[in-house]
């Protein structure tokens, strides 16, 4: 290991900030993947993986992915809800890998709601 300089410290700090901000609620967008039995059967696990890939590839520091239970619309799974700090929560339904990637790039990162995939605005708590 080479000796650190002040710049190296800043680099390490930036690299770890995303991991650590997750532990302090320091996030801007929260994406909830609905993982009821129906969601899992319809491929929700894969959707969560896609989201994680996108987060890693985009280098986003302030996006978190969480899971919740069945949302009651089992025929429209897989489903995610995107919540941003400044906008309303939006629920997207019948997702595929590609749709998820588009939503991530346009809504999560770009702040523009992807209306063609959206079901409705709103969210109900799971506990």
């Amino acid at each position: 290991m080479k000796k650190l300089t002040k710049d190296d410290l800043t680099k390490i700090k930036e690299e770890y900030q995303a991991t650590l901000s997750q532990r302090e609620e320091g996030f801007r967008v929260k994406v909830t993947v609905h993982m009821g039995t129906c969601g899992i059967a319809a491929g929700a696990r894969r959707i969560a993986e896609v989201l994680m890939e996108e987060i890693r590839d985009s280098g986003a520091q302030d996006v978190i992915v969480t899971t919740s239970g069945c949302a009651g619309l089992c025929s429209m799974e897989p489903m995610v809800t995107v919540e941003t700090l400044d906008g309303p929560p939006v629920r997207y339904v019948s997702l595929t890998d590609e749709k998820t990637r588009e939503i991530f790039r346009e809504h999560v990162m770009g702040g523009k709601i992807k209306e063609s995939y959206a079901l409705a605005m709103g969210y109900e708590a799971s506990y």
Binding site: M1, K2, K3, L4, T5, K6, L9, I12, K13, E15, Y16, Q17, A18, T19, L20, Q22, R23, E24, E25, F27, K30, T32, V33, H34, M35, G36, T37, I40, A48, E49, L51, M52, I55, R56, I64, V65, T66, T67, S68, G69, S126, Y127
Partner: protein, 616 residues
Amino acid sequence: MQRFRTSVMLCGGNGCTARGSLKIKNALEKELKEKGLDREITVVLTGCNGFCAQGPVMIVHPDDIFYKQVTVKDVPAIVDEHFIKGRPVERLMYRDPVKKQPIPAMKDIPFFSVQVLRALRNKGLIDPEKIEEYIGRDGYMAAAKALTEMRPEEIIAEIKRSGLRGRGGAGALTGLKWEICAKEESKEKYIVCNRSTLDIEPHSIVEGMIIAGRATGAGKGFIYTRASLPLIVRRFTIAVEKAREYGLLGANILDSGFAFDIEVFQASDEFVCGEETALLMSLESRRGMPKPKPPFPAVKGLWEMPTVINTVETLANVPQIILNGADWYRSVGTEKSPGTKVFTLSGPLHNNGLIEVPMGTPLKDIIYSIGGGLRKGREFKAAQVGGSTGGYIPESLLDLPVTYEDITKAGAIMGSGGIVVLSDLNCMVSSAKFTLEFSSDESCGKCTPCRIGTTVLKEMHKDICEGRGRESDIELMADLAVEMQDSSLCGLGQTAANPVLTAIRYFRAEYDEHIKEKWCKAGVCRELCTFYIDEEKCKACGACKRVCPKNAISGEKKVPHRIDQSLCIQCRSCYETCAFGSIRIGPRSMREEMMNLPDQGILSEIHAKQTAGEED
């Protein structure tokens, strides 16, 4: 870099580890792997979370869900329900002690929400064995600032202006200590970190020591730990090794030209070595005994060289002050006691553990807001503040703000920052006796006031608790206690009498009852109490009979019970069990009276007749 959707922060503090954190970590990682979640979810073993009474605890981020008393058996439920299906496991959540409702998020639990974290700012957030995570939380930024942008005088001036006071108990100004040491001319100087018993982020100590070294011109530091706490020794050793590997210790740190290194020293468990001069002797591999001051260690310390000794908590505050400035530091706390203070809270409270609050917080808030008040059925009697040689604070003084000045005025000390709450089940005389047994054991024996004083006070308390007390004892003990405070060599002897003085000051009536009436109303001193059953109140439920270890309680169903005084050993089991408050504690003299009661059978017949009469 690997990114995870969920981080499980499992507490790896001393308490939780003792209750099986490591087993839970293994089980959790195995389960995650089996379910194919190991690339999505990470398990981090953190430093002490603070909520030790509920351990092992874990927090699941990003949802901030707090789980308590987790066992290996709970692991599948947590993984299946929470991690896969997003349904947090309600039965493992913390519950409000009064309303019994679960509180899912850690930030909503009063134990955490009332606290202000500075020295413990990384508590439960990072893996103490990973230097990168510490750097991610601004770690070593203060050292970089101090080493590359500040002159040593400027560092000292900033620390002085912050008003940071030594958290070791006496409350000396840290900046002043550093200044004295900095002014000494010597080719060798040392920084010593005192007593690393506190489960605190180790890198913040390393960083604080680097800054102290720069300010005073010291090139070598020692972290004085206890060998009996292997977990803490391990974490400090790893921290120092990692810092050295990254060039944050050693020669030319961060290209500043400054060189500093640290050694982790493992000492035995000697209470007196909390005193700085005794600690230094122990570091020199001699028997730990205090020396008269002056010369202060800042002038003549380790191997006669100028030495700064700071506790872990003081050093943990230093990087924050350098990074955020003295004004920020002064934004909480009081004028004379700025900043925050770490306490360990224990006793019959709903919530116990390691906490940090702003200086000046009323003792009441600590006990009732953070501690959640006393458990059901218990009444507050006193709080011993400052560890085993701290004084007792009675209920009438509960509004006392916790600052160095106010605590000292009330007869207690900041000391180690321990707060032990005593309830109506505790006897003040025997509690004071207990602390004296400890201090007389731990007294190093070098000075007479402490060696003889603690022993005499202990013996006198023993006499009072066993019924041999004399009326003149109280004044004699108070005199002796004041002498000990005035003439003992070090903090141990000077504070050992605090429990006695405050117990006499605030609970004089209990001493009088013990001596004059031979009556320990709390039923702790076995020689001075008689347990008896109020036969009119007794519901004859048999609960006391079941817990009595000597089978001393007689009486069938519906026959009011009675304790056979010739068999009773005053263990108090029945008293603590009775749900109706029918068991009473009388003075010693009642034992003879209780031997001559009318026959139990006759009493029950009278009782039956009376009830029958009422029914007619």
